[in-house]
């Protein structure tokens, strides 16, 4: 029985990728953004990684390229995990979606878009997942202050519009 990394190297033969050894010991490969789709397809079809665990990004601000995309996969068949990394340049990072390979990734990609502003090309319905839909900022970017930029703005706008529409609303008196 071959090790995970040998299986991956066998399955990805002919593609551009580098094997890395992260501190947590998980098999990890680094690819270019252009190769993401081809590598992912091979990982699913040739290496047996049938489940995507999560999609996220690392903001390496202020170094360039700024974003380090990260996909983690699980093979139920072989009972092992692996990770794919890809460096993406800002300020509007674009990566291809993998929802056509693993449909369940849709939520993870929406979350990643919500928090980091990473645009997943080809994602159907890429909109905010956690923050309000008309929110303007991407909170997990390193240049975003942790107390937010006018965090109450959307609420105050909603409150003002509501009071204009219904003048009966006032602070109660009795």
């Amino acid at each position: 029985m071959s090790s995970t990394i040998e299986r991956i190297q066998e399955g990805l033969k002919g593609l551009n990728f580098q094997v890395e050894t992260p501190r947590d010991g998980l098999p990890q490969i680094r690819v270019g953004v252009a190769d993401v789709k081809a590598v992912m397809t091979r990982l699913r079809d040739a290496c047996g990684f049938d489940t995507n665990t999560f999609v996220t990004a690392v903001d390496r601000h202020p170094s360039e390229p700024r974003y380090d995309m990260c996909w983690q996969f699980l093979s139920v068949e072989h009972n092992d995990r692996m990770r794919v990394h890809a460096l993406v340049a800002g300020p509007e990072p674009h990566v291809p979606t993998i929802t056509d390979l693993w449909p369940g990734t849709a939520y993870s990609e929406r979350e990643c878009f919500d928090m980091f502003g990473v645009v997943f090309d080809g994602h159907v319905g890429l909109k905010r997942l956690l923050m309000p839909e008309d929110y303007e900022h991407f909170p997990l970017r390193k240049d975003f202050p942790h107390q937010g930029i006018e965090p109450d703005r959307l609420y105050r706008e909603w409150d003002r519009k509501r009071r204009e529409r219904e003048p009966m609303i006032e602070e109660s008196t009795s």
């Binding site: 923050m131 942790h146 609420y155 602070e171 109660s172 009795s174």
Partner: protein, 206 residues
């Protein structure tokens, strides 16, 4: 109400025997049948359930009828972390409750934002609602909330609903600068604050 307001320099219903007796009767009725609106937003909600349940049993204080319709409630218990996304819903629920109504901020999150000094969390629900009682704790024990309930009952005892009805003076206090409610409406008694309003720069040191 204007014609009743002034009679020869006196307020018509000002501290007279009739007014104080009616006040007492009304307050007695109000304070012993506070129907809570449980707004359980996070872990405080679990303690809130324990408080309503048989072990701590707030029916001893007449407040066991937790209704999930704001139309039937007069005590809003905000239990947990209020986010700005949820703030609109909380404010709507508060507006739908009929007067007279009171608010308990349960736990540090709803009192001041607590440990969530963050972009998504309301830094104290007095930014959107007037609050009567703040309860510290993360989460507070049910006893602490029952203590708040008893304090609220004592506060209601000191209100003068009849006088307020004719004078219309019992409005709450809102500070435009800090955008916070400093005092809940409905009473001459100041709000029990658990934290001071600090200018924005000093908030970083919490």
């Amino acid at each position: 109400m204007g014609s009743l307001k002034h009679v020869e320099g006196h307020t018509a219903m000002d501290e007279g025997f009739l007014a104080t007796r009616v006040d007492e009767l009304v307050n007695w009725g109000r304070k012993n049948s506070l129907w809570p609106m449980p707004l359980g937003l996070s872990c405080c909600g679990i303690e809130l359930m324990a408080m309503i349940g048989p072990k701590f049993d707030i029916s001893r204080f007449g407040a066991e009828a937790a209704r999930f319709s704001p139309r039937q409630c007069d005590l809003m218990i905000v239990a947990g972390t209020l986010t700005w996304k949820m703030a609109e819903a909380a404010r709507l629920i508060y507006d739908q409750m009929p007067d007279p109504k009171w608010v308990i901020a349960m736990g540090v999150c709803s009192s001041s934002g607590g440990m969530y000094d963050s972009y998504s969390v309301v830094q104290g629900i007095d930014m959107i609602l007037p609050v009567d009682i703040y309860v510290p704790g993360c989460p507070p024990r049910p006893d602490a909330v029952i203590d708040a309930l008893i304090k609220l009952q004592k506060k209601i005892e000191r209100e003068s609903p009849i006088k307020n009805l004719f004078s219309g003076e019992a409005v709450g206090e809102y500070d435009e600068g800090t955008k916070r409610f400093l005092r809940a409406p409905n009473h001459a008694v100041p709000t029990t604050r658990s934290h001071e309003v600090l200018p924005p720069g000093e908030r970083d040191h919490r």
